[in-house]
Each structure stands twice: as C-alpha cells, then as structure tokens.
C-alpha cells in the first residue's frame, strides 16, 4: 500500500463528510429552509449515482483478459436481478436471484462450450 497515512486520511475525511451528510438536515440545518434547487437536485442523487456505480460493474469488461463467459453471465444476472428488484423491491431477493443466475448462467455457458 502506498501509504497507511493516505488510507487513514481518506477514511477519516470520507467518514466525517458522510456523517455530516447524515446529520445535515436532521440537526445542522434543522431551522434553515433548504434552497429549492438543491432540494430538487437531491431527489435525483440516488438514481444518478447508483446507475453510475451499477452500469460499469455490469457492462464494462474488467481490466486485462476478461472472461467472456463471466461477462455474459453478469449481464444475464443483472437483467434478472433488475426484474426481481422491480417486482419485489427487496435488496435481499435481488442479490440472491442475481447470484443464483450468475452461477447458473456460467455453468450453462461453460457446459455448452
């Protein structure tokens, strides 16, 4: 690791900013009216940020020699998991179905090859 210090600086800084985000409206600005543009922008943070995390993990190939079977299985698993998430709205069901399809699809694709 390039530096234990770097690691701890990041952990403490990110932790502090995270706590301040959590505390923001609950305690810090409890009496301040939120600017309306900011309030509206906050509404789109989950959709935008979660998509930015999910899409590359599913669609972009890993660095170096990516395994095409694994990549295709990931795509299939993500599609099924998205459907399950839409129907059940349960994170656990989404993860379990996604992991199950990932294993099954890999096994099927390798058996067919």
């Amino acid at each position: 690791m390039s530096g234990t210090l770097t690691f701890w600086v990041v952990v403490v800084a990110v932790g502090a900013l995270n706590y301040l985000s959590r505390l923001s409206f609950i305690a810090l600005f409890a009496r301040v009216e939120m600017p309306s543009l900011f309030a509206r922008a906050l509404r789109y943070v989950p959709a935008a940020m979660l998509a930015a995390i999910v899409v590359p993990a599913v669609a972009l190939r890993g660095i170096g020699s990516a395994d095409p079977v694994l990549e295709n299985a990931k795509l299939a698993a993500a599609l099924v998991a998205a459907f399950v998430a839409w129907r059940t709205r349960s994170t656990s069901a989404t993860i379990l179905s996604g992991m199950a399809v990932l294993s099954l699809a890999q096994w099927l694709l390798r058996a067919a090859a």
Binding site: T4, T6, V10, Y19, S21, A30, A48, M49
Partner: protein
C-alpha cells in the same frame, strides 16, 4: 406554549411514576423561562433517564425483527467490503476503522477502488462525498419526523442512517406518527445493521484469501445497488437521470482517476432537473 401551560398547571397529586416523568420532562423544556414561571417541581431527571423514558422497547425489537431479512443481502456485501480493505493492504484495525467510521458500503467500495487505482486523495474524497449525497436526501426526508427529539437522539440516529434503515423506518414514522416510537424502531434497525456490518466486514477481511474467486462474490456489490436503484426509478425525471448517468459513465470511462463516476453522477442529476423542468411547462 403547551409546555408553558403544563408547567403552570398544578402537579397531579401523586401520579404514577410515568406521569411524574412526563411532568419532569416538561419542566426541562421550560427551564429557560424567567423564575416566576417556574413552580416548585421534583428535581430534573438525569439525561439518560430522559432518553429511557421515551425509549420504546417493543418498537426497538420490531425494528430488529424487520431488519433481519434485508441482512441476508447485506452479509455478502459486508464480506466484499472487508475483502476490499484486505486487498488494499490495510491492517485489521484499518478494516474495522473503515467500516465503523465510514459505515457506508457504497463509499467504502468506491474509496477502496480509487485508492487501489492510486487516485489522489481529493478525488477519492470528492467522489465518495457525491456518492454519499444520497444520505443528505435521507436526512432531509427524516428531519421532520425527528424534530421533536432531543439533540442526543438525533446525533446517534444520524450515525446509523443508511439506505436500508431509512427505507424501513420512514414507513414506520409515517404509520405510527409517534416520534419516539419511530425513533426506537429506527434505533433497532440501526443497531442491528451496525453490528452485522462490522462483523461481516471483519469476516471478509480475515476470509479474503479463503473465499474462492469462482464465486464472483464481488458481483454482490452492483446487485445490492441495483436493488436500491430500481425502486428509485419512480417517474420520468428519475429514469432520465439514471439513463443519462449510465450512458455517461461508459462514455467517460477513459477519464483518468475514475473521474467518470462523479462526472456521470452530476450529469445524471442535471438531466433529472432538466426533464423535470420540461415536464412542468
């Protein structure tokens, strides 16, 4: 005003202990009033008693019970975060510090990925901050429900505010309408989640080398966020925000220091605002 009236009204002759406690708490609320307003009252309860009087054990236990099923999904996620800390070369204390201080799977994973890619500290911190803006939205949604609570409660509850605890508790606050019942429920979900999170992170840290790579356990992370993303796509602007962000993150992938993540997020947010403004016209 109600608090002042309660203070002026003569005390109940010899009420049950619970009634007395409420009077004492009301007394606390008017402690800043000038002397003549303050009638003789029993001494103030210590702050811990004040919290205990409002703590609802059944709601706390209900929170623990309702949070148990979502934990099945979070266990592998915690494991992956622990593995990421180990791969980074952190000590066991480092892994525990990361999960306890940051206490957010998304931020931990993103921080670990960026640190592994040798991104500079400001980029890591900025990206994690934008990822964590989600929490600010939860904070804003939770704020009106927590307003009646003393600062001590709010500071603790803010620390255990997570995607899952928020999703479970906000419903409870709306349904029960009682701030302290909702807060006790929220505390129950938060305590269980916090404990499990630390344990699963440490387990991941120690099991990192044993877990077979063929399991592709790290795929749990996008799946977990997919489970949160899909319910967030509730109307046209949110869907547009996700679509724009998803396209942008692929197009911007060649950017150095994984700047694609934070740029795509900001593009998505702007798109959501634009589509919303157009829809109103």
């Amino acid at each position: 005003m109600r608090a002042r009236l309660a203070a002026i009204r003569p005390p109940a002759v010899e009420g049950p202990p619970a009634g007395r406690a409420i009077i004492a708490v009301r007394f606390r609320e008017v402690a800043h009033l000038p002397e003549p307003f303050l009638p003789a009252r029993p001494p103030l309860p210590p702050a811990c008693l004040h919290v205990r009087n409002h703590f609802s054990r059944p709601d706390f236990l209900a929170g623990i019970r309702d949070m148990s099923p979502p934990l099945i999904g979070l266990l592998p996620f915690g494991l992956v975060c622990g593995v990421a800390a180990q791969a980074l070369g952190a000590s066991a204390w480092g892994a525990l510090g990361m999960s306890a201080i940051i206490f957010s799977g998304a931020a931990q994973i993103v921080a670990a990925q960026l640190l592994a890619a040798h991104a500079p500290i400001p980029v890591v911190v900025l990206t994690c901050f934008v990822v964590g803006l989600r929490l600010m939205m939860y904070s804003a949604a939770m704020a009106p429900h927590l307003k009646p609570l003393p600062a001590r409660w709010r500071h603790v509850l803010a620390y255990v505010l997570t995607d899952q605890a928020f999703a479970a508790s906000i419903r409870r606050f709306r349904d029960s309408g009682d701030a302290y019942k909702g807060a006790s429920y929220f505390l129950g979900t938060g305590v269980l989640l916090w404990t499990t999170w630390q344990a699963s992170n440490l387990a991941g840290y120690w099991l990192g080398n044993v877990l077979p790579a063929a399991w592709s356990l790290d795929f749990v992370v996008p799946l977990c966020f997919l489970g949160l993303l899909v319910p967030a796509l509730e109307d046209r602007p949110t869907r547009a925000a996700a679509l724009a962000s998803g396209v942008a993150v692929i197009v911007l992938d060649p950017l150095p220091m994984r700047l694609s993540l934070v740029c795509a997020g900001l593009i998505g947010i702007a798109t959501g605002l634009i589509v919303e403004a157009r829809g109103k016209r």
